[in-house]
Symmetry: C2
Subunit: 455 residues, 2 copies
């Protein structure tokens, strides 16, 4: 059963050494386990780049030892770690100061021939091919690294909120009513008899839970049946959501959002240095106090800078977002900027209107490098007003019963914010299409497999 290799040097050889550990094992015999990344034949010797989860190391072997081995074969290699002569050190590999002289090679799992070359520094593939071969392309170090960044994004989101004394909860997928306006919703015939929906947002639940835990957050899937194939939209994303009660003002919400995003970006900057370098990028610039202006101020600035007059528009268009971010970088040295006071009619029914300017809301978007990253704001916490608004928005008070009930029984002033982990990963790494930032992207054309190939 056991795949440990019996060897005259004894038991120690049977403990697997991770590739990242090889640099500290010069002169020792070790056992490595991994995939053949590339193979280069040089007559009497063969070089194999062996890959495991910690990196790549060069194996030197006689042709007989590695006969028939190809890329993606899983092999176990017993060998001697040797320091490379200085002129042969490979600065591109973290293990570039060593190589491993193979003494024994065991084939564990044979790979079929690859449909394309996996040995390039960047995979030169069209997006459909990249996704058709997802299990394979995810093994490529540069594709693989995208989701290491995403893991840090999500993990640091949790850490940021926990440090602010928030409670983590799991938000439902199946919901009885569509509380958010705008995007399309997936319908589920529930036990063949009832109509329920897939959650577009944990909004309803995080607000309910403010009544029980005051400060809550969730990392959860949200689903949108948006009938469009853009570079920014997916049918399924992982959303990062937070909500907090007992605020003194909507600015407390912005403050918490600001602390959270700053913590997250710093975490990525520190933990993903090499990856950022590989993608030839840096984390966005930001200042301790991220600049914030009202929508109407932003439009005024854009008008002055470009002559384009969008001062009556209810929202910023894509070019407006890019322009105001350019302004923010020039004037405030910040790639991030908050825009507040969007019109009441452009925001969901629960958004709090500014008492001093009731056509506008105490809500904000965070823009980063020319595009929207996050949205948030204060919510209405008055039961009667919410009930009234639900009716205006044509929501069923019956199906929304649980949500309304939370406010019926005393709810403090509260607000929250929300953003997508795929989108933030995409923008940090400068990816061109959000599908690259989703492990298994779902859209109108694909749910793992291309839908057009199925009945």
């Amino acid at each position: 059963m056991a795949h440990g290799i019996q060897n005259e040097t004894g038991l120690f050889c049977c403990m697997r050494t991770l590739i990242s550990e090889t640099i500290s094992k010069v002169g020792k015999e070790i056992l490595l386990k991994g995939w053949v990344n590339t193979r280069r034949d040089h007559g009497k010797i063969v070089f194999i780049d062996l890959r495991d989860r910690t990196g790549i190391v060069q194996i030197v072997a006689s042709p007989q030892l590695v006969e028939g081995l190809h890329s993606e074969d899983v092999i176990y290699v017993t060998g001697l770690v040797k320091a490379r002569p200085e002129k042969l050190v490979n600065p591109k590999l973290t293990t570039g100061t060593v190589e491993v002289e193979a003494k024994k090679v065991e084939l564990i799992s044979k790979s079929a021939e690859l449909p394309f070359d996996m040995g390039q520094e960047t995979l030169q593939l069209e997006l459909p091919t990249l996704l058709d071969y997802r299990p394979l392309t995810l093994r490529h170090p540069k594709v693989n690294a995208i989701f290491k960044v995403q893991e840090v994004v999500i993990d640091s989101f949790r850490k940021a909120l926990k440090s602010q004394d928030f409670f983590e909860f799991q938000s439902p997928i199946l919901i009885p009513e569509v509380a958010e306006g705008g995007a399309e919703v997936f319908k589920v015939p529930y036990f063949e008899k009832y109509q329920v929906y897939l959650s577009q947002s944990p909004q309803v639940y995080k607000q309910i839970l403010v009544g029980a835990y005051e400060r809550v957050f969730a990392v959860n899937k949200t689903l949108r049946a948006e009938p469009s194939v853009t570079t920014r939209h997916l049918a399924e994303v992982t959303t990062l959501d937070a909500e907090l009660g007992f605020i003194d003002s909507w600015l407390d919400v912005k403050e918490s959002a600001q602390r959270t995003i700053q913590f997250m970006l710093n975490a990525v900057g520190e933990q993903c240095k090499d990856i950022l370098q590989e993608f030839d990028t840096t984390i966005p610039k930001f200042t301790p106090e991220i600049p914030m202006i009202k929508l109407r101020e932003a439009q005024e600035i854009i008008f002055k800078r470009t002559g384009i007059d969008h001062r009556q528009e209810p929202d910023l268009g894509p070019e407006d977002e890019r322009e105001i971010c350019r302004w923010s970088l020039e004037e405030h040295e910040s790639d991030l900027i908050f825009i507040s006071h969007y019109p009441v009619k452009k925001r969901p029914f629960y958004t709090y209107p500014d008492p001093d300017d009731p056509e506008f809301t105490m809500s904000f978007d965070l823009l980063g490098r020319g595009t929207e990253w996050m949205t948030g704001g204060r919510r209405i916490n008055d039961y009667a007003k919410l009930l009234e608004n639900a009716k205006i928005w044509k929501l069923s008070p019956e199906r929304m019963g649980l949500y309304l009930q939370a406010f019926k029984y005393g709810m403090p002033p509260e607000g929250g914010f929300s953003f997508g982990s795929e989108r933030i990963t995409m923008h940090i790494l400068g990816l061109k299409n959000i599908r690259e930032a989703s492990l298994f992207p779902r859209d109108m054309e694909r749910v793992d497999v291309r839908l057009s190939t199925l009945k």
Copy 2:
């Protein structure tokens, strides 16, 4: 806008004090924010138990100050913290050594009259009422505490896996094919045109990712359309899943599962001491090496102890599970026990058969206190064998394309394990119905609202 209270003692009073902090503020004037938990009128003075996310404290007020206030009203209280005389100390409250003399009380949000008494130590409600009023009942400290335990369960699962160098990923909800046998699946008309399903398990994805990250875990929603209303089943649960590659034997999987569950139970034991006490329970007893026996051995033991002969059965029945757990506790002082070697025909198509006994699998269940907690085992990592089995199990190799592809291109020996956070929470706290361990339980009869009340 600001809800800070202006007061002659100055600015300091405007900073909120959390209730848990009151015990260290004797002699100070503070601002508390929370819900009226209970109100007791004693003629010239009124006692209010004020509740926030950190606890409950007694407020002493004159009737005029708190006129008309009822349970669940949100109030802000400015007052003086006083030490209680020794004979009036309330040992049931962590703030029982102090009380707060109210100087000013502000009503922030009025609650409707409550449908039942929220002031009892344990809510005496039938399950349907408990769930019909979920936003309210979640505010009750003993209900509220269930999900604090669940948060620790999930958080410690993540910590346990990270300490074993696992990578966290987000598993899809929408899937093209049902890889797991057994439980029913929800169907989604995808963009009105294609049929997709809601994920019953991240099995397919965690196995694919072993090829890219070697060791992966996920905390995600899984959905099952089980047409039964039992005390142990929900339509939607949060599953804790792990998978690891380069194992030397299926016992490596069991070892990782064992370390994980031990870490989690210890975390609950340490972080939820008070809650366990309140529920009059303890974490299950376990030993450093959790006992493990084969299914056939377990059935032999049961036969010897009870005379009931289930030695030919392919699985343990509920009474068998209870009996073998009793045996484990008596013989090994362990509430937990692994049962291995379930028959091939009772396990999914990817389960690894034991070469020495090919009718049985290298899989295991973990039983705890008389019932199943977790399942796991080694998987087949040979592409040809998986393809063959998929056909036998009548799965579409086309819709399963991504999964099979992962094994086509070289996959190490691997395995994994999985369990439900609701079920483990239920069993730790000794709850009678799994619905109590789900914030917003979904079953055949309820998706927040009672489905029978809807069209």
